[in-house]
Symmetry: C2
Subunit: 304 residues, 2 copies
């Protein structure tokens, strides 16, 4: 279950309130496109910005809408108590997995992070995805900690923030991680620009931002990558290079929200303030990129 393409939908807001209708529409779009799982309330799902009740609502709505497609739910929070509350709510809603990043306000030590995962995995009835994202957490795992956390009962998958540049280095890194982790712990790549390289290097999963809003493009890339068609995966990733550059420049959340707004999937100003989102000039450039890529617009309402 913790392999294949996992799509990370936005949690769109409308006038600062969770837009349940638009959110359900995003989930339906993902299921229709054939993603392998949905991960709600990740960074792309603005989990960090939402209240406990909003997060519980989003988890329930995702699971109700996704039908037989498994839904994983992000439970990260600064305080362990709040992580456990989110875990409880997600499990009550029917989550098939919990995703946890060691987000921080005060920088965390490896001991802090180990104990956090030990506590949460130990108190949860569904498996936990370890989410390593140094950019948002300001915490970097080392290999010893990967091994220690990966060995905890209840850990199902490791979401890594990319792979080294170069096919050989990427493959060596994934092989090394695999040697560190129990066989049942899958390795999933994130950072969509790294996806083709990660899949070509043998990752089991792609935890994907773009799949949450442009699922057909992601499914095509994932099928190539998971089937071993490394050339096709690389080619499809190269086609999307203008999007990866926009992600790098503005952050993937602002870009993917602007795409969803442009496609009419969500209301304008769908992000939680203080995040204003892309300015008009950046949106115009992005719309031109989407048109070039044949990725549709509000008239079509479709990805292609």
């Amino acid at each position: 279950m913790f392999s294949g393409l996992s799509a990370f939908p936005l949690t769109p807001l409308d006038d600062d309130t969770v837009d349940e209708h638009a959110f359900a529409g995003l989930i339906e779009r993902l299921v229709d496109a054939g993603v392998d799982s949905v991960t709600a309330l990740g960074s792309t799902g603005s989990g960090a910005y939402l209240s406990r009740s909003e997060r519980a609502l989003v988890a329930r709505r995702a699971i109700l809408t996704a039908g037989t497609t498994p839904v994983f739910v992000g439970i990260s929070a600064l305080r362990t108590t709040h992580v456990l509350e989110h875990a409880e709510d997600a499990q009550d809603a029917g989550a098939r997995g919990l995703m946890l990043a060691p987000v921080s306000y005060q920088p965390l030590t490896p001991d802090d992070v180990y104990r956090l995962f030990e506590t949460v995995a130990g108190q949860s009835d569904v498996p936990v995805i370890v989410y390593d994202n140094p950019t948002t957490t300001r915490f970097s795992f080392d290999d010893d900690l990967y091994a220690a956390v990966g060995a905890l009962p209840g850990i199902a998958s490791l979401k890594i923030p990319g792979v080294p540049v170069g096919a050989e280095a990427a493959r060596a890194r994934i092989d090394r991680l695999r040697a560190l982790l129990p066989a049942h712990v899958t390795i999933g790549v994130s950072g969509d620009a790294h996806a083709a390289a990660g899949l070509n290097a043998g990752c089991d999963a792609w935890y994907s931002v773009i799949a949450g809003t442009l699922p057909a493009s992601a499914v095509a890339l994932a099928r190539a990558g998971f089937s071993g068609d490394t050339e096709e995966a690389r080619r499809l990733s190269s086609e999307l290079q203008p999007l990866w550059e926009a992600f790098s420049q503005h952050g993937s959340l602002r870009v993917i929200a602007a795409i969803a707004e442009h496609l009419g999937l969500v209301h304008p100003r769908s992000l939680p303030l203080p995040i204003l989102g892309l300015d008009d000039a950046a949106r115009a450039r992005l719309h031109a990129v989407l048109a070039d890529l044949g990725l549709g617009g509000p008239d079509t309402g479709t990805e292609r």
Copy 2:
């Protein structure tokens, strides 16, 4: 009011619950030592880790206990809506000022931050302290943004994360900031290791971690610095150098919590999990430093 020594107390927990009794004891200690103001729920007050109701409770308790000593309250949160909720609660409790840092999960743009301060200052009845702390917010103000935010109605003070090394460079920096800001906006130094340099360079305020737990030491340094006795301020700061080094190594929160625990001011394990606090070896080294400095211990229950 937004000048002099502002002390930042811990918000101690006991078994993961706000320890109101210990917190009130900390506030009494600050008032007795003669600090000029108290700032609750800053980084040192673990504001980021607490729920809305816990934060409201802490604000009320601080203000009730502090008597005529002005209390400022940290209102930072990732989402503007939540900042406004904290601002409302703090004002209802009787806060004399609100402290706001542009904390982030997704990195913020200067426009995001400007609008955040515009919104919050525009909707608040008490003045706002702009809290610039790139380490915890991952956002760095530039001088244009200082000037723009400083000019907003309702902004009272700028809390800067230190001053450049060297007396001339520090003085030049404060002079430059003063030229950027309206005359009524005070400039306060933070980062306790920089305090003497900041006061000697002409800062109006010291926003102080150490004053929240070792107020007598901070009051002595502040009196020297604010009265223009630069040599004495430097000497007193040098005496505390072993503490500044511990702050740098472990983060000031872990160190100051360990000191408060050692002095018996708060219960053991007073920090919110996942922050475990200093390990035994680091605590032993810290206790030796405190003994060397004559800063007391659990037997005396006093600072000196």
